[in-house]
């Protein structure tokens, strides 16, 4: 079976400025992979390449054994976002349903008249059940919490039975218990549905226990491998081109110290350079990076 995503000698640039180059990596099907790196290192650029939204400036890319554009229909994508605001008067099930047939022209037929509409409704209900959102899927999505919204949005990305999920910072803006719950949900989907999951994350710690592999972008390059083989002092020092320390706490958390752009405890990736878990619980996100 072909790989889910493979890059060979790949380079990407945005607006003429190179983001990363010389990247070789292969993500096998069915894996749960996190994409890590400091702000602006090219995590979202990697997703754009995989989605076919941004052509490579050099090298080759293959997604699910095809070109990114050809594979697009087999991918469920969850963009980075802020949440729906409170005045959004649209039900959760409607948002999930849009993922199924929202791009189709015309008006949907009422379920009473059309078999395909009944099938669509059943499919939506099945996915809502899968992400554990049945209790609140009928409520306006603007009135739900961030974690509830995120579950419904993952449901929306899943509703077309994709072979791969690309999730751009789905844990961002969630509190710690919800980060762990959503990470567990994503891993369960990955295992039980056989879906490859590529998840861009700000902080590896909430998902560390669930991951098969990480891709780490920094300093204009990218490396991949099992989490504990990549998030290591020697590997990251070479990637950043400056001395980096990785500290493991007694609870198993990885803390990356000395990244060039990590002033104070502003959010970098691969861990936090402050060890206070309580403080992190209070402020799950330090800052949001612009796309790219």
């Amino acid at each position: 079976m072909t790989e889910a995503i493979s890059l060979s000698g790949a380079a990407a640039s945005r607006g003429g400025a190179p983001v990363w180059s010389g990247v070789d990596l292969g993500i096998a099907r069915g894996e749960f992979v996190a994409v890590l790196g400091p702000n602006g290192a090219g995590k979202s650029t990697f997703l754009d390449v995989a989605l076919g939204l941004l052509p490579l400036s050099a090298g080759g890319v293959s997604v699910l054994g095809a070109t990114p554009r050809a594979a697009r229909a087999r991918i469920g994508y969850l963009p980075q976002r802020r949440s729906f605001d409170a005045s959004t008067r649209v039900r959760g099930v409607d948002v999930v349903r849009l993922g199924l047939d929202g791009a189709r022209w015309g008006l949907p037929l009422p379920a009473a008249l059309s078999g395909s509409a009944r099938a669509a409704r059943a499919k939506v209900a099945e996915v809502v059940e899968l992400v554990g959102a049945s209790a609140y899927a009928e409520r306006p999505i603007g009135s739900l919490s961030g974690g509830e919204q995120q579950r419904l949005l993952i449901g929306q990305a899943l509703v077309r039975d994709p072979e791969m999920l690309l999730l751009d910072e789905p844990l961002d803006s969630l509190d710690l218990p919800n980060q762990a719950a959503v990470a567990a949900l994503v891993q369960r989907i990955c295992r039980t549905q056989g879906v490859t999951v590529v998840l861009v994350a700000h902080d590896v710690n909430p998902i560390l226990g669930y991951l098969d592999r990480v891709v780490y972008f920094a300093g204009g390059h990218g490396v991949e491998g099992p989490p504990r083989e990549v998030i290591r002092a020697d590997v990251l020092s070479e990637l950043y081109g400056s001395p980096i320390e990785v500290v493991e706490t007694r609870s198993g958390r990885l803390i990356v110290v000395g990244t060039p752009d990590a002033g104070g405890h502003s959010g970098d990736c691969g861990g936090h350079d402050h060890a206070a878990d309580e403080r992190q619980a209070e402020r799950p996100v330090a800052e949001r990076e612009p796309a790219g």
Partner: protein
């Protein structure tokens, strides 16, 4: 604009016979129904997309269009629909430039709006400042509708609603969830421009009947009321149309038997319906805390 003479009874059939005794009243009811259905449906999407400010600007743009048509002695409908069509394209161009900030977009739209009003004032001045004409442009000509106008309105409404029906689902997707829709291959930019054009047509038709200043009684209030009541898309859309239709016909009916103008009754009824809905929540779950503010484009 009021009609003196007829007195209401409690016999609804007799009242209806009185209402429809004159052709001008029949035409007003017909035109009102057409405009209400169009405004209710398009207004629902406008409120969902938070383009109320764009709708308001289009209404303001319709005024110089109509004034220019009066000045040039061409049918006034050309003025309304031409100005709103061009205005919609201008808004689409402005919106495209302001890719990042909504604030920049609404400021640019506001600039267009002020200029449009100034132009309208100029055209009215050039025409000789006939105040009766000005009042009709701003507050409507409900009771002066001709049969020809009704037919024109019907054609425009049918075309607009057919296009809206064809675009409805992807438009809903793009309105609720723009980023995912775009990534999923929905032509969100095209839909944005197309919707502004549809909105322009609805605003032009509504302005022609209820006047540039009272457009929102049919375009915003019924849709906002419907969205307060239900979060279901189909039900909300239907409710919005029903509300717009009900306030228009009731307003016409009451105005016929009262000394006050139609525009006042239509706006008051739709406002009353909105306030009533806000005060007594019909939907038990998830009442919204903040209403979509009218000044947000």
């Amino acid at each position: 604009m009021s009609v003196a003479g007829p007195h209401p009874s409690w016999d609804l059939v007799a009242d209806w016979e009185q209402l429809t005794a004159y052709p001008f009243m029949v035409q007003a009811l017909e035109a009102g129904a057409i405009v209400a259905v169009m405004a209710g449906a398009i207004g629902w999407f406008m409120v969902l997309r938070r383009q109320t400010f764009a709708g308001h600007t289009l209404a303001m743009i319709s005024f110089p269009g109509a004034a220019a048509a009066t000045l040039a002695a061409i049918p006034i409908a050309f003025g309304y629909f031409g100005a709103c069509g061009l205005g919609a394209l201008a808004l689409a161009a402005v919106g495209r430039e302001g890719s990042g900030g909504r604030a920049g977009e609404s400021a640019a739209i506001g600039t267009v709006q002020a200029f449009a009003l100034g132009l309208g004032f100029l055209f009215v001045g050039l025409y000789g400042g006939q105040l009766a004409g000005l009042e009709a442009l701003l507050f409507g000509t409900f009771l002066g509708i001709t049969e020809g106008q009704v037919v024109t309105l019907l054609c425009i409404a049918v075309i607009t609603l057919l296009v809206l029906a064809a675009l409805a689902r992807p438009l809903f997707y793009a309105s609720v969830d723009g980023a995912v829709a775009r990534a999923g291959g929905v032509p969100t930019r095209f839909l944005g421009v197309a919707f502004l054009l549809l909105l322009g047509m609805a605003v032009a038709a509504t302005s022609e009947i209820v006047g540039a200043l009272l457009v929102f009684a049919l375009l915003v209030t019924p849709a906002a009321t419907a969205q307060l009541i239900t979060a279901r898309p189909v039900r909300g859309l239907l409710l919005s149309v029903v509300f717009a239709f009900a306030v228009t016909w009731l307003g016409l009916g009451i105005a016929y038997f009262s000394p006050y103008p139609v525009g006042f009754w239509v706006t008051s009824l739709s406002f009353g319906l909105y306030v009533l809905t806000r005060l007594c929540p019909l939907s038990p779950r998830g009442r919204q805390r903040t209403e979509a503010p009218p000044a947000v484009a």
